[in-house]
């Protein structure tokens, strides 16, 4: 069942020492994780465009992006498992690999939410923009900023920066609560409730995306310090 992934196979033939071989595999996985991160960011950005700038073209490429994200997700998970099984890494290397396996899951979820958001954008297109759209947009920007921060923390393996994402999450949570109040207790609604329903789902999605970004930041901190909180 566990066939070595291409990244591992590519270096098997080389007559390098175990250390370098392992380092190269690790580097290749790290590269894939960062690529996946860049794709997820792109997907999020396009979903944002679709939802707030009513740019339907931006949404067109999202399913293809999501497909690619899923491919990376499966490949990285397999690569990590193979490398752990073959090389038996210890300490930070092991933490890095196991954190990668968890973190790609968070990334993949963010990608899925982005795809959902773009679909909502297409449905919302038919309706007049809601009054609280600007606030939701700010929330979305904030969530994107959190994702960017967690990806930078991952690239730099900066545990302190990873933990700051958690504090950024409060802003998104507050925005969610406030927007929920506004949307839920609206009166005298003319016409159908679909736009309000969709916006309610959208803020929920954004809040979840921010949570996943927080998770990524915390996993980075775990890689560096070895402490899971």
């Amino acid at each position: 069942m566990l066939t070595p992934p291409p990244a591992v196979l590519a270096y098997r033939g080389s007559r390098r020492t175990d250390h370098t071989y392992f380092q190269r595999c690790l580097r290749s996985i790290e590269r894939d994780v960062l690529r996946m991160g860049a794709l997820v960011e792109e997907s999020f950005r396009r979903a944002h465009q679709c939802l707030f700038a009513r740019d339907l073209q931006a949404a067109e490429r999202i399913p293809a992006l999501d497909n690619q994200i899923d491919q990376y997700y499966r490949r990285i998970e397999l690569d990590c498992a193979t490398l752990i099984a073959q090389q038996a890494p210890v300490a930070q290397d092991l933490r890095l690999l196991s954190a990668f396996m968890q973190l790609v899951r968070d990334l993949e979820r963010i990608g899925d939410y982005a795809e959902d958001l773009s679909e909502m954008g297409i449905k919302l297109f038919a309706y007049k923009p809601h009054d609280c759209m600007a606030e939701i947009e700010a929330m979305s920007f904030h969530a994107q900023m959190m994702l960017a921060t967690s990806l930078v923390a991952l690239a730099d393996l900066d545990g302190a920066m990873g933990l700051t994402v958690k504090s950024l999450d409060d802003t998104v949570d507050d925005a969610y609560d406030r927007l929920y109040e506004i949307l839920a207790y609206q009166r005298d609604i003319k016409g159908v409730v679909e736009p309000i329903l969709l916006l309610g789902l959208a803020i929920r999605h954004l809040e979840r995306m921010a949570d996943h970004a927080t998770n990524i930041g915390q996993r980075v901190a775990y890689i560096v310090t070895g402490q899971r909180n």
Binding site: E30, L34, R35, N67, H142, M145, L147, A155
Partner: protein, 435 residues
Amino acid sequence: MTLLAFLLGLTLGIGFWLWRQRRLRRQIEQIVSALTDRTDFVASLPISSLVRRELVYLNQQRRLVETELQTWQRLFDAAPMGYLHVDEENQLLWCNPMAQELLSINRWQPGQVRLLLEVVRSYELDQCIEQTRQLQQSQVDEWIFHLTDHTGKLGARRSIGLKATSLPLPKGQVGVFLENRQPLLELSQTRDRAFADLAHELRTPLTSIALVAENLIPRLENPLRRWVEQLFRETQRLIALVQDWLDISQLQENPGEHLRYERLELRDLIQGSWQTLEPIAQQKDIELHYAGPEAVYLRADPARLTQVLLNLLDNSLKHSPLHSAIRVVVEVATDTATFNKVNEDRNVQIHIIDSGSGFAAADLPYVFERLYRGDASRQRPSQATANAIPPFLGRGSGLGLAIAQQIVQAHGGLITAKNHPETGGAWLEISLPCQ
């Protein structure tokens, strides 16, 4: 006896030593003469000066190369375009200040070796480098680079149009030149907006002029009447041109927003368009030859698609010789090359081929540009023919093909122009998704 033996030994020893010396000298001479590339090599010099000369010479050369390297380095640093250099594992080895500025690389110091993706989260750039390495071919890519700042300042987002030209280097390394396309993009946007505004401003007065002229015609006698009629016609042409321009601008700004999708049958649409053009076709005795399936269904905006067909067929008619035929070939192709395998994409391809003189090779890259007119053979028809032919959108305005392209692209399709190898005439190929 002892002395003799001693002398013999000494002679032998000295002889051996001399032989060794000679051999050493010959070896050094050989090495030096084989390695040196200088022309004033003198083999007769003592061995020590020979080696010293060579070392001094090499030192000089090294210093020269070093200064040259520094000059190049300075040039790259001061270059108005970005350059970055990655190794076979996509690690950033070096980049110049311009590249740092364009890509906002602020977490990298010269001398550091880090994965490029760690400092620049751009999938496009990564793919460009990856492809260059795989194909061992220079690649040119253009994309908008978005940057979400992580420092926590909201609004610190920026995007910049970039053009990358990559170069495969030895040992799997890749060099990438980066150009800032942002000023150009902004310029063309402002130009388009200015033109659209102008067209908008022109439309109202032109409509009133046309109305006044139209009202005047029945009240006037010749020759005044003929002049006003001409005024009216020309004003109508201007109105059509302005309207075309507004259409293009709208389509470009929000493609898709102005489309009303319906399920339609393509062959009917082609026949319908042809019937509209029948009067001109009969004048020149030109026939339409249709080849393809009996019925092809697709989802598209019928009014817009008719406009595309009218523009293209009208163009073909204009350039077809008398008593010829225009071929319309329709094919339905399943596109297996698409990345997205989930929803299998089917494409409809429409080929419109005439037997006129075709496009000039130099014009081919520009035929879809607004207001572009090729050489004399494809220019605006003279007044006489323009009078005889009912006005159609984009007629002779240089906007017909531009509109066709905008509409096809808004449908998510593709339009290409080339010359047909057999007929020598223009060959326009539209590819539309069936959905």
